[in-house]
């Protein structure tokens, strides 16, 4: 299957098969004006199967959350049809307003204007905890 080359844009490659939709939703790619392609179960020499997201347009989006959702993702920046930058995303120190605390006793469940902030507590195990109640962040808790 071939999805056309993009001239200027962002390609998220090596997404673990099955995670593409999660990333699409989390980054709210459905709300963009430019063309976005989500390719699932593409063949990959390294991974067997993988998902790929192609965004046609050099838009300014915060990709830090990818470090939490899938640290193996490669971010390729395409300029004039060429890859000008290729990088992995490091784990962010804090994740703000992307994950929702799932502890029903957390103050964030009643105090609406509070930001939902999670802090990196254990880099090796990729553990983030709510700054208010210290509940561990789960991938399923994406707002």
């Amino acid at each position: 299957m071939i999805v056309g080359q993009i001239k200027d844009g962002i390609v998220l490659d090596h997404i673990k098969a099955g995670r593409g939709m999660k990333i699409y939703d989390t980054l709210k790619l459905g709300e963009l004006d430019c063309a976005v392609a989500l390719i699932v179960n593409a063949d990959s020499e390294k991974m067997g199967k993988k998902d790929i997201i192609k965004i046609s347009g050099l838009i300014d989006i915060d990709l830090h959350i990818l470090g939490f959702i899938d640290p193996d993702v490669t971010v390729n920046i395409i300029n004039d049809g060429k890859v000008v930058k290729r990088e992995k995303i490091a784990l962010p120190e804090t994740i703000t307003d992307i994950l929702k605390c799932k502890n029903p006793r957390c103050i964030t469940t009643v105090e609406q204007e509070l930001q939902h902030v999670f802090k990196l507590c254990d880099e090796g195990n990729k553990v983030y905890r709510c700054i208010y109640c210290e509940t561990k962040a789960e991938l399923e808790s994406v707002k």
Partner: protein, 305 residues
């Protein structure tokens, strides 16, 4: 300006300082009788806890200060929908220091980020209760004379028991402390306590089901209540609440200098027949709590004696 939300906000040295102040208050109460003259403590209890509130209020009165506040959410402006953030800002205009109890975890932290005066967490849901831990530490200091080389048994609800988690964290900073966790399978210590505290600090601990089996080796036995409000299901509560009850018979194999602690209130997990045993320290713990709250108020208000 400092707030105390978690016992780990205090360094070992700072805790030593608070213990020294508390012991000096015990020795020389008159010296402190006017220490907080003209200062006001606001006790903001969004969730009723008469015991903790009275301890804070008694502490402030014994320092010569005054107390304002409310004892449950219905008599506060939160019943009109005011946020914790706004309450913290408003109370900052009236008082010099806040002691806050709230059923939502993290509420005192939120208050501390908005208030212009120190905030003491007086208990937030199942999360933190640092002044209880300070009471526990003063009790251990006065009863055992040391924080090193102790085997501490925790019995009962170790899953939801926040006082247990905080004391484990605080005691993990001392040398050669061993823990024996005594609980039913349903109420064992959470994984995060193991992963965040016990494993990184290479603390020796074991998990057992029998109180009798653990008893002979313990220097301290910390009993806890199986709290009804932590259960979502009444049947689970009734099935588990009587699992671990301390009786004089069960104490027969215990050391002569065992120190029996309990954060109170108790329901029936320590039989009243144990109260007259010289090893029962849980009422001393209550008194120690007041002295440590006095020491903490002095520290946060930066009062020099």
């Amino acid at each position: 300006m400092r707030s105390i939300i978690d016992i780990m906000d205090l360094s070992v040295e700072e805790i030593d300082g608070l213990l020294a102040t508390a012991e000096d208050i015990i020795e020389n109460p008159k010296k402190y009788a006017d220490a907080c003259r003209g200062k006001k403590l606001a006790t903001l209890f969004f969730e009723p806890s008469t015991r903790t509130r009275l301890s804070f209020e008694a502490a402030m009165y014994e320092l010569g200060g005054n107390v304002i506040g409310f004892s449950d959410a219905s008599s506060s402006s939160s019943s009109k929908g005011e946020s914790v953030s706004d309450t913290a800002r408003v109370i900052s205009c009236y008082a010099d220091i806040i002691a806050m109890r709230h059923h939502k975890e993290g509420a005192p932290y939120v208050a501390s980020t908005k208030a212009s005066i120190p905030v003491i967490n007086a208990g937030d849901g199942g999360h933190n209760h640092p002044t209880q831990t300070l009471a526990d530490l003063l009790t251990i200091k006065r009863e055992k004379g040391r924080f090193n080389n102790l085997t501490i048994g925790f019995c009962g609800d170790l899953k939801f028991g926040r006082t247990v988690h905080s004391l484990i964290s605080a005691m993990s900073r001392y040398e050669n402390v061993k823990f024996v966790m005594i609980s039913p399978d349903e109420l064992t210590i959470p994984d995060y306590v193991k992963q965040n505290v016990l494993i990184p600090n290479s603390i020796e601990y074991k998990e057992v089901k029998s109180l009798e089996e653990a008893m002979p080796e313990l220097d301290i036995l910390y009993m806890t209540r199986v709290q009804k409000e932590r259960f979502f299901n009444e049947a689970d509560y009734i099935r588990l609440k009587d699992t671990y009850i301390l009786t004089p018979e069960r104490l027969q194999s215990a050391k002569d200098d065992l120190c029996i602690m309990h954060p109170l209130p108790r329901v029936n997990e320590i039989s009243v027949a144990v109260d007259d045993d010289k090893r029962a320290c849980y009422f001393k713990q209550v008194l120690n709590g007041k002295y440590m709250r006095m020491a903490l108020i002095l520290k946060l208000l930066e009062v020099e004696i």
